[in-house]
């Protein structure tokens, strides 16, 4: 499994990439494998200010359903339209075309609490 070192991670199996004050968020390679074939990603929180660890959406796989959690507090500014029509992109390219949302980070100090790739690998026993 692949865990790019330039990304930060959460215990809830999301990844986050911060550029300026905008963070791109998705789920990890481990998460997509555990979920199996993803058939629907429901995100209806665009425009909302959400606190860290609040649910921003739900991912439906064939056999299971899982909530998606905000890695940091912020305003959801964009949803990846591509995964609306092609949710399988989350399986095939979780860190690329399968990204989920972009968030305007409201409290940059929270970023310090995120996991590095190595920390995350330890968490999942890789």
């Amino acid at each position: 499994m692949n865990f790019p070192s330039e990304l930060k991670y959460t215990k809830d199996h999301e990844w986050i990439k911060v550029e300026g004050n905008v963070a791109t968020i998705g789920i990890t390679d481990f998460a997509q494998k555990e979920l199996g074939d993803i058939v629907y990603v429901e995100i209806e929180t665009v425009g909302e200010e959400l606190a860290a660890e609040v649910v921003f959406g739900t991912v439906e796989a064939v056999k299971t359903v899982s909530d998606l959690f905000m890695p940091v507090s912020g305003k959801v500014v964009t949803v990846n339209d591509a995964i609306n029509n092609n949710p399988e992109l989350v399986n095939s390219d979780p860190y690329g075309e399968g990204w989920m949302i972009k968030v305007e980070v409201s409290n940059a100090t929270e970023l310090a609490g995120l996991l590095s790739a190595d920390d995350y690998k330890k968490l999942i026993g890789e």
Binding site: G36, D37, V39, Y40, T58, E60, V62, K63, V65, N91
Partner: protein, 363 residues
């Protein structure tokens, strides 16, 4: 937790293993959608050795089976199979099962893994006919080889002419060099194919031979996840989901296996229920709004009143539509009825559709 005889083989094939019905079972290999497609378009092999098998023999065998099962096993000829269920006294179902007639004094019952002990005790309790009962569940492996290429893939392995076998018949013959293998033209997928019962000591030889012969047809191992999506597209009931100790066979749409030509456990009450009609029915539905229905989600009407419950649901890999089954009140059970499935905080629109959801390749 029990392991399958070929557990090591599934691990080597890349299976993800989960606990199911007391067994460590392969749930997926390459992924549920790909495995599902393999069965619909070519051929796949499932190791479903967790299933239970009982031999019922002797002069009282048929009488015992007739007493505990809802279908009429006296209609079976040798080498014929019947889908049936065992009603309880409270209007529900102990288990659903297959009844194999080997001869007039020898039958095999194939039951769900989760119910092996419960079924055994239930049947034993009703055995006032002096039938001999033998639980051979731990002695046999069961491989389901399913898909449009199943016949071609298996034909070289046995002298039995597979194309000549009707659905729900079986042969006991040499298979992959092993004697007395049960070759059963049955399955739980709606694809054509076979279920192969083989004694544990020959299981690996048979499995390997099937994989080798199937290679040129693209045979792949298939896990429980795809078994569930395949059966659901056919509207086949899954015990524990769609039927259980509290659901009647009449409500579940299993009147076709509930024959009042002979008495059986609770037959008087079920007959009355059939004549008077039931207040709820198991229906198939597809979602119109976007989402995925799942077991235990509530079903409501347009005003939000609870009218039923989802028993099975998935995104159909073949149809790319969200489908499900559930019990709804009789008033909402007719085709095209508008119903709503509660998914998290929303009521998603759905409509009642006919089962199977997808045309079956078998009959």
């Amino acid at each position: 937790m029990k392991k399958l005889v070929l557990h090591h083989k599934h691990v080597a094939l890349g299976a993800k293993i989960v606990p199911f019905a007391g067994f460590e079972m392969p749930v997926t290999y390459e992924g549920v959608n790909a495995e599902h497609d393999t069965v619909r378009t070519s051929v796949g092999i499932f190791d479903v050795s967790h299933m239970g098998e009982f031999l019922i023999t002797g002069e009282g065998a048929l009488s015992l089976i007739q007493a505990v099962t809802s279908n009429d096993a006296s209609k079976l000829g040798d080498c014929k199979i019947q889908y049936s269920c065992m009603p309880n006294n409270e209007g529900g179902i102990v288990d659903d099962l297959l009844v194999y007639r080997v001869s007039d004094i020898e039958y095999m019952l194939v039951v769900n893994a989760s119910n092996i002990q419960k079924d055994w005790d239930w049947i034993a309790k009703h055995n006032t006919f002096g039938a001999e009962m033998r639980n051979i569940s731990d002695d046999y492996c069961l491989f389901a080889v399913q898909g449009p290429k199943a016949k071609e893939a298996l034909q070289d392995l046995t002298p039995t002419i597979l194309t000549a076998m009707d659905y729900y018949t079986f042969a006991i013959d040499r298979f992959a060099g092993v004697n007395d293998v049960i070759i059963s033209a049955t399955g739980y997928t709606g694809a054509s194919g076979f279920e192969i019962y083989v004694q544990n000591q020959d299981a690996e030889k048979v499995f390997d031979a099937i994989m080798k012969k199937g290679e040129k047809y693209g045979i792949k191992p298939i896990g429980l996840a795809a078994r569930d999506t395949l059966r659901l597209e056919m509207g086949y009931c899954l015990y524990g989901n769609d039927i259980n100790d509290t659901t009647s066979p009449i409500e579940a749409g299993l009147s076709w296996i509930t024959k009042f030509s002979k008495p059986f456990v609770n037959s008087d009450k079920l007959k009355e229920q059939k004549e008077k009609g039931v207040s709820r029915k198991l229906v198939g539905f597809e979602l119109i709004d976007r989402g995925v229905p799942r077991h235990d989600y509530k079903i409501v009407d347009a005003s939000g009143n609870e009218i039923g419950v989802v028993t099975s649901g998935t995104m159909s890999p073949t149809m790319k539509k969200a489908i499900g089954m559930g019990y709804v009140t009789k008033e909402h059970s007719s085709l095209n009825s508008e119903i709503f499935v509660q998914v998290r905080d929303k009521n998603l629109k759905a409509k009642v559709v006919s089962i199977p959801f997808l045309a079956s390749a078998v009959k």
